[in-house]
Each structure stands twice: as C-alpha cells, then as structure tokens.
Symmetry: D2
Subunit: 337 residues, 4 copies
C-alpha cells in the first residue's frame, strides 16, 4: 500500500502517519518527491482498512498494491484447478457444455430437453427450480417439485445437474438433488449464501454480478474458497453497460484476464450475455476462441412458449448445430469438445 | 404492449401472433405501417413474459407500455405514504436524518455516537451489526452483540434504530432489536430476503442496488409491498459509473423521478454516494434541495480509527455543522428539519 | 509515479527499470516489500508516457501520483477564477443563469425568447446556430443566419450570447457574433477545436463529455488554458450511465469535486442532464445547493413545436417560476441570484 | 412511432395529438387500451423530432419503431459491402489485418515496422501522424513529416496505409498520403469531420466512440454514406464501462449485431479494447471467431520505448506468432487470412 500525502503536508502529519502505520505492525518507507511525500507500507496489507488511513490528517489518497484475493490467485496456486464431475474434467483440455432451459416448467419439458441436449453433446443439464425474478408477479419456479424433475432427468440421461440456490436455508435441499450449486448474478455478493455454499462442500458455479468487477468476482470466489471448498467455477455472463441493443455486454476481455489472475475454471454464458438467441452462436465461438473452459447455454424445446428467457433460448436443433460449429473452433485453439 | 413485426413479415406470421395474443386473454389491435406491421396488445400486460412473444416467427421486438410496478406507483396511490416512527413522521414535511457509524464497533462507540448525533438533531441512529464486506478477511460486524449495543444506545437516547439484515434467517433476531430493517445495496435483488422483510411487517429501508435502475428499485419495493408491508423507505445511495474520482455517482435525478413515480418516502445516502467526507455537505444540501424526504449519514467519533468507511464518515462536530447548514436549505424548499 | 514490480521480478529487471527511470531525468526510490518491490519515481511525471514503462520486463503496473492537469488546478492557482462578462461576474458570489432555446429557429423565436428570459432574470442568452445532431436527416441549425439573429437578440435585450462552435474553421465567424464560445459534449476531446478556441482568446463554455471523467474534463480545459486563454467555464451536463429513465445522469458529485480541484467556474445544465422538463426545477435547485456558479437552461416559447429538445425545454412562464424558486436556495447557501 | 398517452389523458388531448400527427403528413391509428390510449404513427418517422411530440399535453412517452439509419442498414442493402483496397478485398471472405505502431515516431521506426508486419502477413500499415492525446503535454504526433514517412513505408513495402485525420482542414493533406482515413474514437460524433471525409470519397475507418451505442455508430456511418461515400469500415475498439482492470471493454456482441444490422465491413481493435499486450492474442481470436472481417493491431519494434500505447503494443515476433495462431481460427469459421 502506498500513502500519498497532500502537497504541503506538515512534518507532524507525516510523522503521525508513520507512527500509525507502524502501530499496525508494518514498516513505513518514506519517499519525498518534488511535490508530495509518499509512504510505502511494507507487509501484508490485505486485512487493513484503507479508509481509516485515508482519513488521517494530510493524506491525499491511499493506493493499494496487492490484489485483495489470495486463495483464488495464481500467486497462491500456479497450476489450473481441474476436478472431475460425473466423469468429465472441469478446467482441463476439454470444453464443458452445460445446456437446458432457463426454468424447469414440467417433468416432460425437462426430460425431453435433457435427452435432446445430451444427444447434441452437452455434458451437464441446466435448469432453474428456484427462479430469481425482477417482478413478484412473474413465475417464481416450481421449487422442490422442479428439483425432483431435474433428478428424474439426470436418472434418465446420466447428465449431471446444475441449478440455482437462492438462500442459505435452501442449500441442504438443493444439494440433495444437484451436482453443482449455481449462485446467480444478483446473489454474487450475498455473503450469507456464499458462506452456506462454501460450507456445503459442493461444486459451485459462481456467476459474475452484472454490476461487479473482475476483482469483486474473485473476492466472492475467495469467500467460498476460504471455507475450504475448492471446487468453484467462475461464470462470465455479461455486464451492464450503456448499450441497450443487447441485454448485457459480454466482457470477453474477462476470459483471458481471469485465466491470468486465477487458477479456477472459467465458463461463459452467451445466452444472458446477449439476450438474443441469434447472437448466441457467434458469441459462443468467441468465448471458446478466447480461452473459456466451458459454456452454459439456454435450450428450450419451444422457446416461443417458454415461461422465461424465451428470446435467448435456442431450439434443440439449433443447439446441435452450434455444437457442430464449436468443434473446429475448439480444435483451432488446442482444445476438444 | 406493442409487438413490432419485421419488415416483410408474412400474413401467416401476423395471424399466428394475433392468435397467440388472443389465447393469452388479450385483444390484439393491428396497425399496418409503411414498413412494418405493429400489433397493440390490450389488457394488463404485467404478468406476461415478453420474451416468449419476442421469440415468435416474424417478430422484430416487443415494447412494453405499462410500468411493471403497481402497488408502488402513484397510479395506485396518488397521495404520499407517510408513517410515524418513534414520534417522527417519515415522508411528511419534516426532513428525517438518520446518522451513526458504518459499523457498531463497541458499546462505548455506539452510545457515544448516539448521544452526539442526537444533540446535533438526528432523528434515527444507524449502525451495522451484520456487515456485508467485499473481502472475507475484513471485519464482518459484531453480530448479535452489536444489536444489543444498538438497543442500549436506543434506550440511552430515545433514538430509533435502523440496522442491516443480510439473510432471511436473521430477520426475527434483528427485528427484536431494530426499529427499521435495512436492505443493503448488494441485497436489493435478494428476493428471499425481500420476502422475509415483507412478511416481518417492520419498516424497511431499501437501498438501491449500485447498478440497479430506478424501475428495478421500485420492483424490489413491490416485492415487499406485495406481502402487505406498506412501510417501505427508498434510499438512493449512488450508482456505479465510469467515474472513479468518487466511490459512486449520486443519481440526483432519481430523487424527483421517484417522487413522481411513487408515493413512498425517498432518502439519500451522501456518504456512500461520494465516499469522501469532504463532499458530504454539498451533496446533502443538494439532496434536500432536490426534494428528498431524508438523509442517512455516516458519523464516527474517530473516523481515522474506524474499522470501515472512515474516509466517508463525518466527525460529530462536523455533522452538527452540517445540520446547521441544512436548515436554511430545507426552509428554502418549504420543508423543516 | 510508483512502479510496482511483479512478485519474483529479478534483480536485473529491477536494475533495468531504475536505469530507465534515471535516464528520463528522475530519481528512483526503491522499496522492497514482502511480496513485491516498488519503485518511487521522483520528479514531474506529467510529460512521461506511463505505458512504455509499464511495458518493461518484470513490471506489474504503474501508478500515477500527480494529477495530470496543472494550470487548471488549485495547486497552481488557489483563488477562484472570476471574470466579467457584459457586466456580470462569472465565478463570483452571484449565480449566473444562461437561458434560451436549444436551436435558433427564426428571428422572431429567438428575439421573443430573449426578451422573456431577460424579464425572468437570466443573464445570458443561449441558442444554437450550428447544431451537432446524431442524425444527418435532422435539422442542422440555421448557421450564419442563426448567428445574425442571435446578434439582433443581443442588441434588443442587452443579453450576452453563448453559442456552440463545431469546427476550428468556424471559430472566427462565431467569434464575431458570440460573447462565449460553447464546446459541446461530443467535442470535449476534439483537440483541434480546443486549440482553436484557446487561440481565439474568447471566453469558452466547455461541456463535459457524456462519458468523460472529471479528470478528462480538466485535461480538456488544460488544452485551452495552455494557449493562454484563461476564461474557461466548465459545464456538468450529465453523464451516460445504465439508467434509461432519464436522458443522462447528472453527476452532482462533480460540482463539489470540481470546486475542490480547480479554480475555474462551474455551471450545470439541468436540461440535458435530465432530458425532461418536469425534472429541471428539482435538479436546478440541487445544483445551486451543491455549489454551482451558474445554470444553463433550455427555454422555448412553444416546446411542443421546437425542432429539437422540446421534451426538456421550459416554457417562459415556467422558467420565471424557476427563477423565483431558486432565489431562496441561493440565499440558503450564501449566494445571490 | 408509437405515442403512449397518459392514464386519464382527456379526449381533447388525444384529438390534439391526432391532429398534430396528421399535420406532419402521417396517418394516426388509435388504440384504446385498458389503462392508456396509444396512437400509432404511420409513415417514415425518421425526420421527425420525437421530443416535440413528447411535449404535447397528455403524452406519457414516444416510442420510435424504425431504426434511424437507412443507407447503412441491411433493409436498404441486403448484401455485404465489399471493396478492393490495394488488391485486397475488404468485407469479403478474407480476414484483413492492419498493423503498425500507435504513432509514427521516425522514418526508421515506421519503415522497419512496415517490413516486419508485412512479412508476418499484415495487409495494411497503421500509424498515426496526427495524434489525439488527452494531455496537451503529451507527444502530439509528427504531423506532415509523419505522413511522408508513412508514404515512404508504403513505397518500400507495398502496404496500403491507414492513418488518422483529426480536423476537416487536414483532410486534403492526409488524403494525399493515406489509402484509408481513420476517424478516431473521440471524433466519432465530430460531424464537421464526418462531412469532410464523406466528401473526400476516400475509404474511411470509423472507430466507435468509447461512449457510443451501436446505433450511434451506424448514425455516424450514415453521415458519411449520405455524402455518397460508400467505402466505410466500422471498427469496434472497446467501450467504457465500470471495469477498470482493462483499459476498455471489448463489446464482442457488437460484432454479430453489426453484421446483422448493416452491410458494412466490421473490424476489431484488440489493442485499444484491452490496453494490455498480453490480452491481445485471446481477444483477436475471439473477434475472428465472432465474425469480424478484420483486425487492427498495434505493433512496435520496441514497445518499452514507444512514445504512446507501449503497454498494448506487440513486438513484431509476437505479432507473427499471433498471425500463425489466427489462421486455424479463421478456417474454423470458414474464412481465410
């Protein structure tokens, strides 16, 4: 951490700051510039509140130097995190594809979709039983009934299941039925929930908040990792920007950035990132080409009758075409699918 | 809702859409333009998923016409919601000021601060016992112990208490100690939590998400209102933008917009909206001048030793000056303080 | 400037960087932390390209310490810039109000509006003769004819005139007719134009780009100041954010921030910042309360027939009411109007 | 265009609006909903100012239906615009790569770089002679001298040259030396400049403003097209968002969106979109996979000594590797390189 003192900060203010820094157990390193004095703080700055230092007399600003995440960083673990899920390696050379409807709507719908996405080559089945909806008047999901249908679909197809959990008290129930617990974009900083999934020991798919920086995503992963749960998959799903033509803006830069900063697997959700089914193919290819370890894609047998996200869902036949399109792209970047 | 068909949409596509619209219980109203046909959908469109209609063959886009919130709207209730809290009217002519530290740090700290802000004229005491922190390595709040200190501070000063609740299962506990339950910015779309505070019947301070639209804020209020809980206070606390000089960007426009769209009281949090104590006075004056019904301000006896948010906390003496500064501004816009 | 070396940077990389820093005429100040070495660069860093240093082997990142603007800063000139314009002091105790239509549409329209806004208490007349329009099919302004009508309106009312200049070669022409040259939001970083208005010696109203930071605004002011032209008025006019209910988001924080960082006068444009006439009053009051030195407001005798910006233009009678509303707010913050 | 009347709009207000619509030469189509009346406006709405209609009594809002661009749209021209430049087809099956330094720094630097990028397979040489810089204290480019060096580099290598023009009066000069005129991101809405390059008849590389929507980019292209100049290349170069880890956020969605909406060729600038050389490869691959027609990449023989953009420039050897990496990706999506 670097403390930049104001132009004209008094000797006393500088000395007080040095004392404060030392009282926190750090060494202070003074550097007098032409216009300003700066104080280098030597030691692990992560647990310190920068704000209170910024508030000392004579301070202009405080500049953090170390990234605030540790367990999630490549500094902590240089090699990629790879783990097995239902026979598939997540985070390895093979691209993993999760596919299925936004919401579980009925037994028939989810089992039919599961068969179709499996045939097309998907590795996991997605589908929401608990649905976070902007409006209290929208369909909120089938709840436990939906979880049971997911379990039936798993049994019928052998596909592992990823599904969302929305509250700490739902974790034990969802964990009975799911193979991967999904934390939705609006809950990325729901710390009580991060704590609960951390404690569960289950694999977690952590979606980036639509308002969250890459660093904040890694800090939320850090919450889960710090509970001893190492099986965290990060998901870039588009961020909110001023552009309104698409539902969100896929931050494709985040893919190579995350692969540099962290050892955790990174998947991309082209459905939410665009909000339009006819953009999903192009953006899926881009994600693979940029180095993503997987995709999570909304597929619905009848998008025009879907209770949610119809506009961004692929029909099964189109999904099969997409899988065919993706294979040469995966090979072009040294991956398999 | 208006459905815009693509240029060159076929007669069959148009007819299919009309049938679909009618099958949902609406009347369809066709209008053939020079380049495109549009279909007006007549009826209460709120519960319908626009996405699935957008997915029908031949559709270019679907334009919602009605605002999606109802109970929160001025259409539903024209007159302001005003309710009593500990003898003060929230949402009336008088400006309500909530003040106190970011976090409860000790019995002494919170009781001392409570006395000081009360002397300066504050109406409620704020202070967090459960703290949502970006980092798992930061101070997470004193929890129940903090709640007890808040209760002592209330007893000592007579100030009502507003404090954050972070998870549904905490609601009963926090409700024992608090007068107003605060939903923090990162939980604005934590629907399980909105459900729980809606059921509690307690007054709720709902903070706008840092990247949530005004409409989304009102939809989250709608969740609480739809559980029969009418005592909701909205809080504009700054949104995330590209500007990095300040911690957030106060959306001052949101104050008159909310006063037009909704009957609910609106308060402003200048501390989080700026992140810098020396900007709090100017922005507090602006909030009152724009028509806010109240302010929530961070005050700490020793900001340079605060465990969180020290950079944006006022010292008690400075807070007293602010109250003095605000009175003529309140009078200039026909309010009292 | 601080150079943060990567964890594990070699001794040779550190030495190379020190040599490079010294070759640029600076002193280097080494500080070895627990995880990383940092190098303080002592001297005036402003002219140095940080990018090329960031590119040296072993560097993690480069952190600038000094703000990049100089002539615009309070460090350079502590007291406020105040200058006379047509008998009014800009930047002094008195709030200055500029009012008039978005575009000059006819001789009658501009002269009528000039009389009405003068009666209501405005100090300058605004009106565009050259109009930057998103669409090539929209009205592009009356050009020189519009400038002549503005001059007639000035003669008829005695109001000084502020009008936009869009290209370097227009500067001499516009300077013949205008008292203040306006640089529009889309031209804030049109450096050829900044150069030309800097050379002109005329007072300049510099509007903040709709996605420009406060620092970038000050850098654009620096361009004008560095040509010896000291009469620059900054204008906060709303920035682009994700919020779509309003046309832009007024960055009210920017008012006190600018007053701290720079000695230049700061005015606010509530018309563009909101895009809706019914929000203009609330936001104008907020701007004055926050410390703005003036306002620029769109007023049109018949907004529903205006060729541009009708939705955000006040009728003259409403503008007169606004002036009446603003006086007590100005007094409440120790200003006059 | 759809006009949504307020709930409770009077019969007179509705009739006045119908008259106004008809007076503008349109047909009005009334549709009375349960809560609101809406009026469909039939005819080419593009030249009409929506704002003035929005200002009529009783109106809630005005919803445009037609996209405001015409010549740039697929509706106007369904097949791709393809044109020859120095023997290469722009917009065809072959991916076009433009490479070179941010700024022309010396004769040696640009000629050396030209040879190296040509050997690696680039099709055009980029390099700035007039440089838009945020700071007046930064290097502003070599000007005409730089243009002459570019011409020498062209002669030496046979590569066509793309270089930026910053002001209308520079167009004739730059047109003497360049093969493609570049409009920089800060000038995307500099309408005087768009007019001048439109008149020039030269091919134009139009960079998206860092604050501009896709629709605004197409409107700026429309300015150029409406002067009869059809050879416009669009460039997605990253937009400004809240994410600060990268210099900008590449809007990869914009690639397929533009390919759907317009017939114009689309290139991507991964250097500015990321700001970091080590992210350029991943993002370049993604751009090709998403369907871009070309890339523009910063390459410098000594990035650590570059006067600008060193941090995002590739060394020539790394650029050659990138070209090798890109070929299989191009083939995977049915293109050549």
């Amino acid at each position: 951490m670097i403390i930049v003192m104001k132009m004209g900060a008094s000797q006393e203010e500088i000395e007080n700051m040095v004392k404060r820094v030392e009282s926190l157990g750090f060494r202070a390193h003074l550097s007098r510039g032409e216009e300003r004095t700066i104080i280098g703080v030597i030691g692990d700055e992560r647990p310190v509140d920068k704000d209170s230092l910024a508030r000392m007399q004579g301070v202009e600003r405080v500049v953090p130097i170390l990234r605030p995440f540790k367990l999630a960083s490549r500094d902590f673990q240089a090699e990629d995190t790879v783990f097995k899920l239902n026979g598939h390696s997540i985070g390895g050379k093979k691209i993993i594809v999760m596919a299925g409807p936004c919401a579980v709507e009925s037994r028939e719908q989810i089992i039919e979709t599961a068969h179709l996405v499996k045939e097309a080559g998907a590795h996991l089945l997605r589908g929401g039983a608990f649905k976070p909806r902007t409006s209290p008047y929208s369909f909120q999901g089938l709840g436990e009934e939906g979880l049971q249908y997911l379990a039936e679909a798993r049994q019928a197809t052998g596909l592992a299941v990823v599904t969302e959990v929305m509250a700490p008290e739902q974790v034990p129930l969802v964990a009975q039925f799911a193979d991967v617990l999904q934390i939705g974009t609006r809950n990325m900083q729901n710390y009580a929930l991060l704590h609960a999934v951390g404690e569960s020991g289950m694999p977690v798919l952590l979606k980036r908040g639509l308002m969250s920086t890459i660093e904040e995503l890694l800090m939320s992963a850090e919450y889960i990792l710090s509970h001893g749960n190492r099986r965290v998959i990060l998901c870039e799903r588009g961020i909110r920007t001023f552009e309104t033509y698409t539902r969100n803006t896929l931050d494709i830069n985040a893919v190579p950035v995350l692969k540099e900063l962290t050892h955790l697997p990174v998947v991309v959700d082209p459905s939410h990132a665009t909000g339009k089914w006819h953009l999903v193919n192009a953006v899926s290819r881009a994600a693979i080409a940029a180095g993503a370890d997987g995709l999570i894609i909304e597929v619905h047998p009848n998008p025009e009758l879907a209770v949610s996200d119809g506009a961004q869902s692929l029909r099964p036949a189109r999904f099969a075409e997409l899988m065919t399109e993706l294979r040469p792209v995966a090979h072009a970047v040294g991956r398999t699918l």
